[in-house]
Amino acid sequence: MASRRPSDPASLQPVDLADSTSDFDSPDAPRKNRLDAPISGPKLGPLEFVRWVWRVLTSMRTAIILLVLVAFASIPGSLVPQRSSDPNGVIVFRDANPELFQFYESIQLFDTFTSVWFSAIYLLLFISLIGCIVPRTLYHWRILLAEPAAEPASWVRLPFRRREPAVGGTAASLDLAEAVLRSAHYRVVRNDTSIRAEFGYLRETGNLVFHVALVGVLATLAVTGGYGWSGQRVIIEGQTFTNQLASFDSFHPGSWFSEQQLEPYGVTLQSFTAEYTQDAVNDAWMPIDFTAKVSVAEGDATREVVLKVNEPLAAGNSQMYLLGNGYAPVITVRDPQGTVVFDQPVVFLSQDSNLTSIGVVKVPDGLSEQLGMQGFFYPSAVDLDSGALSSNNPEPTNPTVTFNIYTGDLGLDSGVTANVFQLPVESLTQITGRHTGNDVMLTPGDVFELPGGLGSIEFTSLRRFIGVEIRHDPTQMGVAISLFFVVAGLLASLGTRRRRVWIRARGTARTPELEWGGMSRGDDPRLDASLDRLVEKTLPPSAAKIRGK
């Protein structure tokens, strides 16, 4: 315990730290900004040069500049659509500004947060951070093991000073002062005629915990991030999603993903209900509740679960989130003999708040020609003055589909994966629908006879679908733990004052006195009040009262 204070704390602190713990530890030392002082004349040897670079990199000034740079470098990430959060926006941008797109692409503006320049800044920041905290931790460790600092050579510079009669003699008064300091959680060293005491080590400890925990966040992301995966899937009422690669509509594996990570389970959508209310202001319909009832089969057990927005479903090692929904009209296509060649719910994607939706039906086989249908779905169809249809309510009060129907080569055999929501209309021949004078407009149960004796189509019934995201994120635990320490360290550090107190015996044998001196690290407007209170506690009640007046 009697280990001495570190003699040269300077090299362990950022060179331009104001009120640094090293200044605090040697208050008599002259203060100067070591960063600005030339280290060894104009010509630096290679070793000095490396040392100089390191000092600059781990200086506070560099930390500030890098923090501000990170902030500014993030701005493009909010101005330009990002591949990670808005892939569709990137495509729209490309189509609208092909030339600007090339330029932006070349400087990675669509991937701001994984770009070379952004990564360079935050990696430098974290190198600086590590370079800063390692020596500070070593230094603080030694301080923690050492005794409270020796009294300064000159008491004149101390911001707090107070002298009181030592009623009952110096020894007794010092005993009392020691007890008071200890009960105020000071670390105390008592000598015959003096006391030195120190408080608030938690400030630096908390600060270091905070910075180390920041490294913890980054390290967690770097180490575990690659094992994550996520995928999207549309599930229609009655359908079952099984957790395997082939079941996803789209899938985003982390760099170290392997297929064995997908734990087997199945989720069947039993029913989906949505509730809407009419917004008083602009008459628009607003959703107020989405509820999906699903059954989850995992191992031998099956359970019924409600999946809602904000209430994800945990299955296997992944979570399923309800992100979207819409209508899936069931369409049945028959050949001229009445044989069913197509009978499926078809997902229609909603386009507005009243769920006017568009979808595509492709019937490659079974008829004399390949059939493609571009559909519009209106949950509550009403006629507009223009003769067109519109939906005035997201709920299915008058569900109606209209189709533009085409024949020709759907291009499904060309080997290129076709977008299920797109029809290559340029290369097809329209046979009915808009502008042909032969509109196709169906409500449930309606049958439409295709021209030329091709067959018939029926809007058989209506179902709903949900869009879900299934995700395994192994970073959550580590990030959560790190953030806990970030917050704990921050609160501990900002809530603690580092203070020192020295007491020495003064006066004469007949009128013994104790002199108190105190200082804080950094500004501390409550230093006087706090130390006054400690002093009062060592005085007899009468004396304290007189003082208080």
Partner: protein, 292 residues
Amino acid sequence: MTNTLESISLIATYSAMAVYTLAFILFTVDLAGRAASDGQSPPTRWLRSGMAVLLLGFAIHFGAVITRGISAHRVPWANMYEFGLTATLVLVGVFLGINIWRDVRFVGAFVSGFAILALGIVAVNFYVAVSPLPPALQSYWLVIHVCVAVLGTGFFATGAALSASQLFQQSREEGKLQTRSWRFLAAFPSSETLEALAYRIIVIGFVFWTFTVIAGGIWAERAWGRYWGWDTKEVWSFIIWTLFAGYIHARATRGWRGRPAAILSLVGFGAVLFNYGIVNVFFKGLHAYSGL
């Protein structure tokens, strides 16, 4: 019933603005008077009545927020109008609260002026009638996340007022800004005191902002399946956080105290305003249910 409460809330909002205007006038008269005597005179009755009127405005404003919440059957901070209404209340509340701890009445004119401006902009441009919450907002994380965001904003705003005063005061101490119209600065504390005050208040704002970002992450995980996805609003919350981390460092760095630190604090608050006023209105993203 709901509709009457809703209109009472709006009327109270405008009344609060009127009362704040009176407080602003009183604070300004006080500053002018004290500046004339080179700041040596003690706080006047103008200042005391300014504080009393501000407190009255705060009470009315509080009523506006409460009635809005009751008429909506939920916390009154689910769209831009409500957020602005509540954040301004918290700003005035933070200012009043700080005065219990430390006398910062000299920025009363600044705070009341800002409150009038903010309430005016919010009530005129962002007003929307009470409407129910979309499913993504139906979460107690809304209560927590936005509550700490509002608190953080209140502290950052007060901090910005102090940092701005600090900059002017420092210029004055250096012999600039000596004309009559700047005489009111004589009634302000020294730039060093202003800086220390600003720092302590901004640090509290920083803690609240840290909670805001973390609570937002937890909520985003529940609602969207990921705790962080660099959505526009997330980007700006991050920018604000790093800028104020920079400010905190600047305060502890030789050569960065004083003016550079104060400028960083103002840049940080600029980002807060930008995040609220510009990002919500003009940028698209997952947070785009600001209710406009």
